[in-house]
């Protein structure tokens, strides 16, 4: 029933790739100190430039892709990686939502170039920063800025076992309550995006008494119009609220910002 251990050469080949990003999510893989040796035993880390300059060409069984598509060169490269990879998993807010650099999607990129660079003509950039899924098929999106180490190991483990990753899509409140935290909004009047934010961090910020700032992006269902009045009540101006929502997951929160709890009369109510 259990196949014998495969020889080294047929271990699944892992590739880790970077687009427009800060490298923090890749670093999370290196940060898996307790699991790293076990991982290296189970997969052939064929391409991981942050860890080793000894990179091997594809094909890859699993590609972990960090970063957003931000330059013309990225457009070709992501298609090539997709073509060479059996499974493609995006890691982090840049790869799943465009990242903080997607703030430029709501501004004039030419103006930025003229302001920032002495010779803007040397810069080849796209007008927008977009998630990987806007360009190629993605098998799984792991959220977070940065991603959670435990969730990364879970996704890789699930891939190795051929099962669905156990990554819940509910709000940070689920994790916060399970951890036994006192709600920072209810008990302290602290602005918190936990009720609309995708779980995954283990409610890290509320555990230390501060509000969630949404680095995992929106949960599977959100009702931001119901939360925003609370942020105002707890001292945030309209401008503050805009800044609060428009960070690492600006595109994802913008997409649901004015969206209420969904069509109230939609079917599906036994």
């Amino acid at each position: 029933m259990h196949p014998p251990d495969p020889p080294q050469s047929v271990r699944p080949r892992l590739g880790v790739f970077k687009f427009a990003s800060c490298d923090g999510c890749q670093l999370t893989l290196l940060d898996c100190e307790d699991e790293l040796l076990a991982l290296a035993g189970e997969v052939d880390i064929a391409h991981f430039a942050e860890a080793s300059s000894d990179t091997a060409p594809g094909p890859y069984d699993l590609a972990l892709v960090e970063g957003s598509v931000s330059t013309p060169e990225h457009l070709d490269r992501i298609r090539r990686i997709r073509d060479e990879s059996r499974h493609l998993v995006t890691i982090g807010a840049c790869a799943t939502a465009g990242g903080v650099q997607a703030l430029r999607n709501y501004a004039d990129v030419e103006e930025y170039l003229a302001t920032v660079y002495a010779r803007p003509e040397y810069i080849a950039t796209l007008a927008t920063s977009t998630p990987i899924s806007a360009h190629v098929r993605v098998d799984f999106e792991l959220r977070g800025c940065p991603i959670d180490r435990g969730q990364l190991v879970e996704v890789i483990t699930a891939f190795l076992a051929g099962r669905k990753p156990g990554i819940p899509n509910h709000s940070v409140c689920f994790a916060c309550k399970r951890r036994g935290n006192v709600c920072v909004t209810v008990a302290h009047g602290t602005p918190c995006l936990g009720p609309v934010t995708h779980a995954g961090c283990g409610a890290l910020c509320p555990t230390y008494g501060r509000g969630c700032y949404g680095c995992f992006g929106p949960a599977a269902t959100t009702n931001l119009p119901a939360l925003i009045p609370l942020l105002h009540r707890d001292g945030m101006s309209a401008e503050d609220t805009g800044r609060f929502l428009h960070t690492y997951n600006v595109t994802a929160f913008t997409a649901v910002e004015t969206q209420g709890p969904g069509p109230a009369h939609e079917e599906g109510t036994p």
Binding site: E35, P168, S171, C173, G180, V182, V186, A219, N223, A264
Partner: protein
């Protein structure tokens, strides 16, 4: 040293006495000496939470709470009372039905042979100090859910069996309390080992203590105490009676099960849906919400697997996920499922209401959704009384 009540007792037991603060301290010590893990209220992170008590000094002496829908604030009290608070952020469920429990683990040997080990829960000997009457009812409801009927949950029973329950009758209801409407408080009727009623008046800070079981009577007999006197008894009875008249909330005076059944298509469900975040907080703080999901985990080698059970909530989209999609796709359907189950179909499933009137779901809802207000609104929409809640 002892009162006349002792004459009716099993040898050595005491059914009624008055404890002072040192008596309460001795109670915690006596329970710990018996090997019990004593859980009770204590101040942490700006709230009165439930946690393990090393001694009675950790009790929230001199702390009260100010509650409203969606807000909770600690307030200093000048009477030094230990139990003048309600609707904390957790319930006893957190100890009896923990948020995550391993159910089994499996290992694959070198030859491919599988060994599956059922989890044998470690027996915990709990003493719960400061169980409010509403929460005592909630424990009884959980007993029915987890250990009644045909299937008994071993993880629950390992914690619940033999747990020593010290009820503290409620003399200081919060603005979100409605135990009177649900018939669960503020007095304790039965099902406890010891029942305390806190009295603070000109004669001092003390606790009228009654035993409800032989073990309770035996523990009480070990404590420094004095005989129960009529002044203390009267003050205790009055304190609880007055609490009953100061409930912050009430349910409409109708059969709630019928109300839920007859208002399934009410417009009010749209109104509450506009305010609902689907964040699941109400179910996590509810002392009777028991739903769980299972998580299967494997290690990197694939040779070790475990099944865990963790709290889940009917507000999660994936909670009703079946082949083809979630059964309750809209937030409206999920809120309605929660409220109609809690107040209505729970009766059909478990022969009681699922709500005990503790008010936690009102306090800990970030947007302050108040189920009593929703029930009143549904009642009005159904043609009932126009009276405000």
């Amino acid at each position: 040293m002892t009162g006349p009540a002792e004459n009716r007792l099993p040898p050595g037991g005491v059914t009624e006495a008055v404890l002072d603060r040192s008596g309460l301290a001795a109670l915690v010590t006596a329970l710990r000496r018996r090997g019990r893990t004593v859980i009770g209220p204590t101040v942490r992170d700006g709230a009165i939470v439930l946690d393990e008590l090393d001694s009675a000094t950790a009790l929230p002496y001199g702390w009260g709470v100010e509650l409203e829908a969606g807000t909770y604030r600690l307030r200093r009290r000048d009477d030094g009372a230990a139990f003048a608070h309600s609707a904390g952020p957790q319930s006893w469920k957190s100890f009896l039905h923990p948020e995550r429990v391993r159910q089994w683990s499996a290992d694959r040997g070198p030859g491919g042979d599988l060994t599956v080990r059922e989890e044998r829960p470690e027996r915990v000997s709990y003493a719960f100090l400061g169980v409010r009457p509403c929460d005592l009812r909630a424990i009884r409801i959980l007993d029915r859910v987890m250990a009644g009927g045909r299937y008994h949950d071993p993880a629950y029973l390992s914690r619940r069996t033999g747990a020593f329950l010290i009820v503290v009758e409620c003399t200081e209801p919060g603005a979100t309390c409605f135990c009177v409407s649900m018939g669960t408080g503020p007095a304790a009727d039965a099902g406890y080992d010891l029942a305390l009623t806190e009295v603070v008046d000109a004669e001092g800070h003390r606790f009228l203590c009654r035993s409800g079981t032989e073990e309770g009577a035996a523990v009480l007999a070990e404590l420094p105490r004095r005989a129960a006197d009529d002044t203390t008894r009267t003050a205790a009875v009055l304190g609880v009676r007055e609490a009953a008249e100061r409930m912050g909330r009430s349910m409409p005076p109708v059969d709630l099960r019928t109300l839920m059944r007859d208002t399934l298509e009410a417009d009010r469900w749209d109104d509450v849906t506009a305010r609902c975040l689907s964040c699941g907080n109400c179910t996590m703080v509810c002392p009777t919400c028991f739903c769980t999901t299972t998580e299967d985990v494997t290690d990197l080698t694939g040779d070790h697997a475990e099944r865990w059970r963790r709290w889940d909530s009917c507000y999660d989209l994936d909670f009703s996920l079946l082949h083809g999609g979630p059964v309750r796709a809209t937030p409206r359907s999920r809120y309605r499922q929660w409220l109609t189950h809690k107040l209505g179909t729970w009766h059909d499933q478990f022969d009681s209401s699922g709500c005990v009137g503790c008010g936690r779901c009102i306090v800990w809802c970030p947007t302050g959704i108040d189920l009593t207000e929703e029930a009143h609104a549904l009642h009005r929409e159904a043609g009932g009384s126009q009276e405000a809640p």
